[in-house]
Amino acid sequence: MILSNTEEVPGRAIREFYGVVTGSTVRSKHFGKDLLAGLKNFIGGELKAYTELLQEARQEAIERMIEQAKALGANAVVNIRFATSSVAQGAAELFAYGTAVRVD
């Protein structure tokens, strides 16, 4: 599966459009990690636990989007966008969407 955030896959022509595909996941933070991050808050700097958590979540959202695209018979997803929204305190939704297409 080719993924791209450009409107087309550079160097390849789009043969067919299958429409928008989406993937999302809602994650909340592990209590221990949260506590550590709270301590880290005094010192500042990168909160690695959160970085990892969001990366994993985003990867999962992308994978769900890919599954949808595969089911439609696409071999690429173009114009991918991400959105993050906090559903409740301590939980966030990671959302990925794009257009499933078939390219050469």
Binding site: T6, A37, K40, N41, I43, G45, E46, L54, R58, I62
Partner: protein, 155 residues
């Protein structure tokens, strides 16, 4: 008396800790940023949506890098003081600057590791992250996400 002293000592200790540890972390981070940016400067990166017409593209893939950062206690205190007078809050500027540069670097590192030659259509996004535990003071941190399309070019 002892109680008042204790009440003052804890924030003072945290301020000192935030200042010392925060400044050290910031300086070493800026050092590492400069070194890695120099190493990766040959990788063309652009926010243009299409590659230049003369590039012969072999393959494309999505690359991304993200960082969650938080301010230290001292900087937060400074920013609260700033809140009274307004104006530039330099301590927060440097925090976001670090997060953005780090995210772009991670994205570029992913592109280089994958054997790509350029990254186009780079986008930067940031979002607030809040936590149930640390929410008393608002946000825990900011996430900065950098993503783009990495290209492999025909030689």
């Amino acid at each position: 008396m002892v109680e008042t002293l204790l009440q003052l000592a804890v924030p003072a200790f945290l301020l000192g800790l935030g200042y010392v540890a925060g400044t050290m972390a910031e300086q070493s981070h800026y050092k590492s940023l400069r070194v890695r940016e120099l190493r990766l400067r040959r990788l063309p990166t652009t926010n243009l949506r299409r590659p230049p017409a003369h590039w012969r593209v072999e393959s494309a893939a999505l690359v991304a890098g993200s960082t969650v950062v938080s301010v230290d206690y001292f900087k937060r205190f400074l920013a609260q003081l700033h809140g009274f007078v307004g104006g530039r809050v330099r301590s927060y500027e440097s925090l976001l600057d670090r997060a953005r540069r780090e995210s772009v670097l991670r994205m570029k590192e992913e592109a280089v590791t994958g054997g790509f030659d350029a990254v186009i259509n780079v986008r930067l996004e940031s979002s607030n992250i809040s936590s149930p535990l640390t929410n008393a003071r608002g946000t825990v941190g900011v996430e900065v996400l950098a993503f783009g399309t990495a290209l492999k070019l025909a030689r």
